[in-house]
Amino acid sequence: MGKISAKTGNEAMAEAMRQINPDVVAAYPITPATEIVQIFAGFKSDGLVDTEFIATESEHSALSACIGSAASGARTMTATASQGLVLMQEMLYIASGLRLPIVIAEVNRALSSPINIHCDHSDTMGARDSGWIQIYSENAQEAYDNLIQAVRIAESALLPVMVTIDGFIISHGMERIEIIPDEEVKGFIGEYRPRYTLLDEERSITMGAIDFTDYFFEHKRQQIEAMKEAKEKIIEVSKEFNSRFKRDYGLFECYRLEDARYALVVLGSTGGTVKVVVDELREDGVKAGLLKVRVFRPFPWQEIKDTLAYIPFIAVMDRSDGLSSLGGPVFQEIRSALYDIDSRPKVINYIYGLGGRDTKLHHIKQVFQDLQGIDRTGRIDGLINYLGVRE
């Protein structure tokens, strides 16, 4: 049993970073992730970590420095949010293409314009095809646990990982969390032994060469496969985490789903709010349930398909809109995963919580009521719906 303490999501992520004590952290401050960098810089100043901390002049350079560091065989982390992640975007693809196990603590925040500092998932959803593993956290405890696991996942899959928390709601909300003793975290993450490094005495490697038409596809094919294989590695790491620390994580969490007739699919902090509504509805005899996606990349489509196949009415909650005119990215992927089922469920989409708009209990209840309405009438009136916006 670890130490119980009250921490904000940012403090929890910074605490995980202290315990990981990476070789290098290169970062640039941005609301609402600034505190992570700030607290970590404090750890460094107080001698609590002996990490080399590079305070770069931009997020682009932060991730570029991380790439140089990871390419040199150093365990490397950073933190960012929103515009910062977007500024890193170019380097995100390079980090994953070079197969560098960098870990980002990411705080979800809306993207400009209009400028907004509050939570939605536009930033990480915009990076969903960048070849990074994405792990979403419901609360500070999950953020802490996920960040520790991320180090192992990245190093075994040789893919970079971003662990996300909802801006302000989790990043600045203080909650009760259990902190694992330092030594046990150290034991769990182990020593990093890089496979290839620029500092190899034996051979001079070249990283970041140019591919013409004769090799690029093969290299991408490798990366595609690595992402597929990462699923098993994530499960392995989660199992070991559970056996040591008694907190069980999968690719997603099922809450009262086994006999559910109505299910919501959601990522992040709203998952907790949905659980409260599910409990209330269950007391009233409504067979409600929740599937909370933890790992969005790689997308566990097969497992999600198998789980949702028998639930006739599903609402997918997206905290970002793809601006594609077909709703949010989670909706599109979940719906696609269910396509091959002969008697496939009815799946509708709710865009919610953009720019930090509060998603209240009655909003979630409304979604379940809408699903019950479809059940009664057999008719879908709105495929894509917008929750909590003034019409």
């Binding site: 293409g97 070079l98 197969r99 560098l100 040789l158 496979r195 290839y196 051979r203 001079s204 490697i205 070249t206 990283m207 970041g208 060469a209 591919d211 004769d214 090799y215 596809f217 093969e218 290299h219 094919r221 490798q222 496969e225 690595a226």
Partner: protein, 96 residues
């Protein structure tokens, strides 16, 4: 690394090239239209041609010029031009 194009399973990850200097397998001599001819008699081994050769194509042995490596020489003519006026040990001729 073999020149044979490999499938994705056989390639090193991340687009890495796992040893240095593999470009030597790629011969650039075919780019030449003019060919430098080096004269052993005239050469004073000042090494000016060597320090200015973009393709490391001046062959040396014991810090002395031995000739031109035509596998890589692209025929730019810098060596001939920069060979000191009084020496002129390299002459450019048409490739046949």
């Amino acid at each position: 690394m073999s020149l044979k194009t490999k499938g994705w399973r056989e390639l090193p990850i991340g687009g890495l090239i796992l040893e240095g200097g593999t470009s030597e397998m790629y011969k650039t001599g075919g780019w030449r239209s003019l060919k430098p001819i080096w004269s052993e008699e005239k050469c004073t081994h000042c090494l000016t041609c060597w320090i200015y050769c973009p393709d490391s194509a001046i062959l040396l042995s014991d810090e002395k010029v031995q000739g031109i490596n035509y596998d890589y020489c692209k025929g730019c003519g810098i060596c001939a031009k920069e060979c000191p006026t009084k020496v002129k040990a390299i002459e450019m001729v048409e490739e046949r």
